[in-house]
Amino acid sequence: MTGFVYKELKQNLRYILLTVVSGFIPLIVLIMFRDSGETASDFQKLLEIGLIGGLLLAGGMEMAVLNGDDRRLWAYFVSSTSDGYRGFLRVKYEMIFVMSLLFLTSFTLCEQLITAIAADKGMMVESTTSAIAVPLVFIQFLLRSVDIPLFYRFGAKKGNTIKLISVLAIIVVLFTVLLINIDNFEDVYNSVCKAFTEYTRSPLLPAGAVAALAAYYASYRISCRVYLKGAEKYDK
């Protein structure tokens, strides 16, 4: 293996492995507190909390692979290679994409295993957590498509501050929407769960997922445009 892929794998292997581990968080919790799973709903809750915790951890790992890239000399160096900074950014985007896939695959495996463990204990866990994980992974793509250009344009410190402000704004908006629709929350949750499992529902949510993929690609193009501009402001 050569080029940027080799460099990224060597440099970020621990983050990639931690992303896989983050999918197995519910299983790790289950092993640590092995006698606590008394009912099917306990297992269901464990999976739901594990999904949220795992997603946050995986998101952190995805951003951690960017650490150290905001150096001016490095930016000049990658620009001078045969693949150029576009090739460098492409590998970064591809790696973060693969990390999301790894998280989803490991979480799905973990969910199946926990369902099997519950079945052996005589409990029927009808888990929908994997179904909700798919739309959440697309939301991750949307967040990354905002994070990464900000990081490359303004560097780690300033980029993270801008991101924090925008994420807080999004959370406030989401909570407001949630509070207004609190009575219909279960309906909304169910329709999101079924968005990728039932083929004859509204095409809006799946279309949103495809739009998230398009946004991720657009984000790559934006990062390519702003990379050299940002490099001028990086530390040496």
């Binding site: 892929v5 591809e94 999301s100 295993l113 099997a116 083929y199 095409p203 799946p206």
Partner: protein, 283 residues
């Protein structure tokens, strides 16, 4: 050791491991019936056996992991990803819809509305981008390793044929396990196993072409996912339609079941052979 001997050794070891792991489905059939955990572990070992076999073989024969074909290679190849997405869907649409339309039930396909079709396409697009990753367990082995090792030994045509048969045979333990578990008669299990073998041999040609064209296993992963999933998606649209349960499309369905995939095999075999010719340096 000559190249030919080394390739035979690699191929033999790969197939031995992949098939040995697939036989676990039969060996552990009884424990799988009583324990969901055992069932989960054996099923996953079976699903990932080609990838496991590929990695073990590469480690044992010391050929290295450099050419695993795990790059996306999007640049210049995005259209082949789109083809990998669309072709299985078109094929199965043709093989499932044409017999129904020809038999005169076309007006009853009420589930096939523009909204539903759009929903199916978007869902499959989203799923093939993120959910299909699990199929890397198969494609890393069959297209990423076996085909590359087979081609110098059997040629392109031979690889498509022998590789497709091997791929189909590897699925046999599913049918045998189902039969032993009381899921249908032996003739039914064999019929389903051999019809899958024929379909996979044809479809394998397209997957091999995709892998060679893009030098990546990911388009094959997408196409494989679409091969599995587009049938489910179309079936769900059929369920929404009001086709009578006793509707008989008879032999027509059998014929159309194979024709589109056979056509795909012929076209992509031609393209594979042409690709080989253009790559051969002139003397």
């Amino acid at each position: 050791m000559t190249n030919k001997k080394a390739n035979i050794k690699r191929l033999g070891l790969y197939l031995l491991i992949a098939f040995a792991l697939s036989l676990l489905l039969i060996v552990f059939r009884k424990p799988m019936e009583t324990s969901a955990r055992v069932s989960f572990i054996i099923t996953q070992l079976f699903s990932f056996s080609p990838a496991i076999a590929c990695l073990i073989t590469r480690a044992v024969t010391k050929e290295g992991f450099g050419d695993l074909k795990l790059h996306f290679n999007f640049r210049g190849n995005f259209r082949w990803y789109l083809l990998a997405f669309a072709l299985p869907l078109v094929c199965f649409s043709a093989s499932m819809l044409l017999p129904v339309i020809i038999s005169g039930y076309g007006s009853r396909l009420s589930g096939f509305t523009a909204k539903n079709m759009l929903s199916v396409i978007f869902i499959l697009m989203g799923q093939s981008a993120v959910v299909s990753a699990g199929l890397l367990g198969e494609e890393l082995g069959w297209r990423g390793y076996m085909n590359c090792t087979m081609e110098p030994l059997f040629g392109t045509f031979g690889t498509c044929l022998a590789g497709g048969i091997m791929w189909g045979l590897w699925h046999f333990p599913i049918d045998i396990s189902n039969y032993l578990g009381g899921g249908g008669s032996l003739s039914y299990s064999m019929e389903s196993a051999f019809s899958r073998l024929a379909m996979l041999t044809c479809f394998g040609v397209f997957l091999m072409w995709l892998t060679k064209k893009t030098d990546s296993v990911f388009p094959a992963v997408v196409a494989h996912f679409m091969f599995n999933q587009s049938q489910n998606a179309l079936m769900s649209l059929f369920m929404e339609s009001d086709i009578p349960e006793d509707a008989d499309v008879g032999k027509l369905a059998d014929v159309f079941g194979y024709v589109p995939m056979a056509l795909v095999a012929v076209v992509f075999m031609y393209l594979l052979l042409r690709m080989k010719k253009t790559k051969t340096p002139s003397v």
